[in-house]
């Protein structure tokens, strides 16, 4: 391999390799490139000494300067928390009503609440609180458990059917699967409740449904279908339906009601975060 061969055309050395009569010119790496590469290799030895480098059985070499990315992260976070303290202290000392009445704290809460909402609430309630079938829209003016600041805060803090002792709980009887009403009655009462907010499909069915409603539903949902927030009974006389606005959806809900669950956030989020979230949700447009 030591014998060098010159390419007749360019006058340059070849590598001596040949493939089907084609030879490769010897084009070594530029010297500066090689030197820089060697310098980086030498430099890396310094890293081994100064920074954490080698894994061991029970730990790793710590390095001379004791650097730790986790410690750096903690420092950064505590600096950020200190910077926010001027706000978080005021929010911790204020009620949600006081926060919403103070333009500065309101602006801070809406900005901070947006981030918290995106991290914790958006998977169910949507990026803008628009909800999804089965997950209430938080931007409209229909509230099952109340839409003022205090009611929203309580829902956020303890959840719905979350298992927390202060959680909001309601249960609608399974009129169909438990045999409380027959199919005909359920269909009639479905027509009736839909007629509360829209044109009646079948006047006779609505008439029959009204009787069934008065006997079975009015105690929770109200005589006129206005709902009852104390019991978490949704209003049936408005344009908003959690589980579907058509008759099939209503009939299904009467036959075998679905009951959504919202987790309790006290214990998962700190007090300040819960207040920020409550004010933010209230600010989405439906707050009372």
């Amino acid at each position: 391999m030591s014998s060098t061969e010159k390419d007749a055309v360019t006058g340059r050395e070849t590598t001596g390799h040949e493939w089907d009569g084609i030879k490769e010119l010897n084009t070594p790496l530029p010297k500066w490139w090689v030197y820089v590469f060697i310098a980086t290799v030498v430099w890396s030895f310094g890293y081994w000494v100064v920074y954490p480098a080698w894994p061991g059985i029970a730990g790793y070499t710590r390095g001379l300067i004791g650097y730790s990315s986790r410690a750096e992260f903690d420092d950064t976070m505590s600096v950020a928390a200190d910077a926010r303290r001027v706000w978080t202290d005021r929010i911790a000392a204020s009620s949600v009503q006081e926060i919403a009445a103070d333009p500065e704290l309101l602006a801070y809460s809406v900005a901070g609440g947006r981030t918290l909402f995106a991290e914790n609430c958006a998977p169910c309630h949507g990026a803008g609180g628009e909800g999804a079938p089965g997950y209430p829209n938080l931007a409209d003016d229909s509230w099952m458990w109340g839409g003022d600041l205090g009611a929203i805060e309580q829902t956020v803090r303890y959840g719905v059917r979350s298992g927390h002792e202060q959680a909001r709980i309601s249960e609608m009887p399974r009129f169909g699967t438990d045999g409380l009403l027959d199919r005909r009655q359920i269909s009639d009462v479905g027509d009736y409740v839909l007629s509360l907010s829209g044109p009646a499909a079948d006047a006779a069915a609505v008439q029959r449904g009204a009787t069934v409603y008065a006997e079975n539903c009015a105690s929770c949902h109200g005589e006129a279908g206005a709902g009852n927030r104390e019991l978490g009974a949704p209003a049936l006389n408005d344009a908003i339906w959690l589980y579907g606005a058509d008759k099939a959806g209503v009939v299904q809900q009467i036959t075998a009601p679905r009951h959504g669950v919202m987790p309790t956030w006290s214990g998962r989020l700190d007090d300040v975060s819960i207040k920020l979230l409550s004010v933010y949700v209230h600010s989405l447009g439906g707050g009372e």
């Binding site: 390419d7 055309v9 084609i22 602006a107 409209d140 229909s142 408005d238 447009g285 439906g286």
Partner: protein, 485 residues
């Protein structure tokens, strides 16, 4: 490299970089010789004026009141403001900067079509700093011949100190260049004190280091290679020339055939050019102007000074190399005299565009509003259905108060008559007021509600308006109201 490609490249092997057949030309150092004359004098004046502007401009003061910086030229990055004397530009008004660049480009086109590469030869920072670096080099290492000898000589104590002194001087100029750049972005006196006491931020030292490095490399080492290989301008500025543009020209009809001769009349059969080569030796890009117009000629006119000095010595008429129009030079060879034509269709169009651009900029500047409204409709959800069936859309309003005092704005909506507007936090107010602090942007949430019967289309155009309650100035923003189909 396979044989076929080798054959395609060239059949004539030569030492690497020696022939024009190579793809890569080895760099030949240009040792430009000192010269005096009209153009050299002009070049020195331009250099003094331009460097003066660069170093002194940030120190100009301009009173804007107690709340604003008093520096005439300042680009305040953290504060998101640019100050140019009486003009204050916000980030969303960066089109003023675009306009300034367009005017600069048109000015360059006009100047090029009139006077050739005056930008390259006299005003370009690359030329100015290279010229300065070359002069420093001449002071320390001597003129052309001494420098060539020094470079060839083996390392000696003298070579060492001369080279060290040169690079130290270059670096000192580079640091001053990089340092002055900072003053355009931070208050100059404060920044100078901070830099000097070592209390400036790492960013500041980083940028000084960056511009020191680029100045040192581009003006000290790269020099004419920047013009020849890196700069796009020489590649298309030929499009602005015509036979009436003033360019550095060689009168070949008078000079050729060139040949050595003694002072006095040239011997029969020879032109005025005595082939002394001075025009090549003084050239900062190392070219021969007698080869004709070329990309590497920056039009600095030093070869004119060189040739005129020689022509005077040998008693021949000057301006064999001259700053002249190609058409005139050629006509003289045929015994005709053609007047210089500065007013031509090309220059008129460039001048017209320049005036138009400047007028538009001026009009935009004079009509710059003191408030700006920007409206962003909510994307999630695009609309909300309320219990009574009506549709509500949410919007984020950003109100920029560009004045130096707190201002109140009333807010209104132009669109369907049934639309109702409410501002978050002021839902109960009939006439909500948007209060924005001085020199800042206020963010507000607005909700627009339209009863279900009053809206037919999926999107309806609406316009938000704000009215400054102090100055009655109105600012508008068009957007849409979204509803279910």
């Amino acid at each position: 490299m396979n044989v076929q490609a080798g054959q395609l490249r060239n059949a004539d092997p030569g030492p690497a970089g020696a022939g024009s057949d190579q793809l890569y030309a080895r760099h030949e150092t240009v040792y430009s010789q000192r010269i005096t004359g009209r153009f050299r004098k002009f070049k020195w004046s331009a250099l003094a004026v331009l460097l003066g502007i660069y170093y002194l401009a940030p120190w100009l003061r301009w009173d804007r009141g107690p709340d604003a910086p008093d520096q005439a030229l300042l680009i305040d990055m953290p504060g998101r403001r640019a100050y140019l004397f009486f003009i204050e530009i916000w980030p969303q008004e960066v089109y003023f900067l675009a306009g300034l660049l367009i005017i600069g480009a048109l000015g360059l086109f006009l100047a090029t079509s009139l006077f050739g590469r005056v930008w390259c030869g006299f005003a370009c920072p690359q030329t100015v700093w290279t010229d300065l670096f070359m002069q420093v080099e001449r002071w320390i290492e001597g003129d052309r011949n001494k420098r060539m000898k020094l470079d060839k000589a083996p390392l000696s104590l003298e070579k060492l100190w001369r080279k060290s002194a040169k690079h130290a001087a270059w670096l000192a100029i580079s640091v001053a260049t990089g340092g002055a750049w900072i003053f355009y972005f931070k208050d100059a006196p404060t920044a100078l004190a901070e830099i000097a006491t070592g209390s400036a931020s790492g960013t500041v030292y980083g940028f000084i280091g960056l511009f020191t490095a680029t100045t040192y490399l581009l003006a000290g080492w790269a020099r004419e290679q920047v013009c020849i290989y890196m700069c796009p301008w020489p590649r298309f500025q030929g499009a602005m020339f015509d036979e009436h543009s003033l360019l550095v020209t060689y009168e070949a009809w008078r000079g050729e055939p060139r040949g050595h001769s003694k002072a006095g009349t040239p011997p029969a059969g020879l032109g005025d050019c005595i082939d002394c080569g001075l025009c090549v030796r003084v050239c900062p890009t190392g070219i021969d102007i007698r080869d004709g117009q070329q990309l590497a000629c920056i039009g600095c006119g030093l070869c004119i000074d060189a040739c005129n000095s020689v022509m005077a010595k040998i008693g021949r008429p000057g301006d064999l190399i001259a700053y002249d129009a190609l058409g005139r030079s050629e006509a003289r060879g045929q015994g005709r005299t053609v007047p210089l034509r500065l007013v031509r269709a090309r220059t008129l169009i460039y001048a017209g565009l320049l005036l138009l651009g400047s007028a538009i900029m001026l009009a935009a500047l004079l009509n710059r509003s003191s408030a700006n409204l920007s409206v962003q409709p909510d994307r999630a959800p695009v609309f909300v259905r309320l219990t009574d069936g009506s549709i509500r859309d949410g919007y984020t309003l950003k109100v920029s108060n560009k004045t130096r005092e707190d201002r109140d704005y009333s807010v209104g909506l132009e669109g369907p008559a049934a639309a109702r507007i409410a501002i978050l936090g002021q839902e109960a107010e009939v006439a909500p007021v948007l209060r924005v602090e001085k020199d800042s942007v206020g963010t507000f949430r607005a909700f627009v509600t339209i009863p279900s019967g009053a809206i037919q289309n999926a999107t309806t155009p609406v316009t938000f308006t704000i009215r400054d309650l102090t100055s009655a100035e109105v600012s508008r923003h068009d957007t849409v109201f979204s509803a279910p189909r």
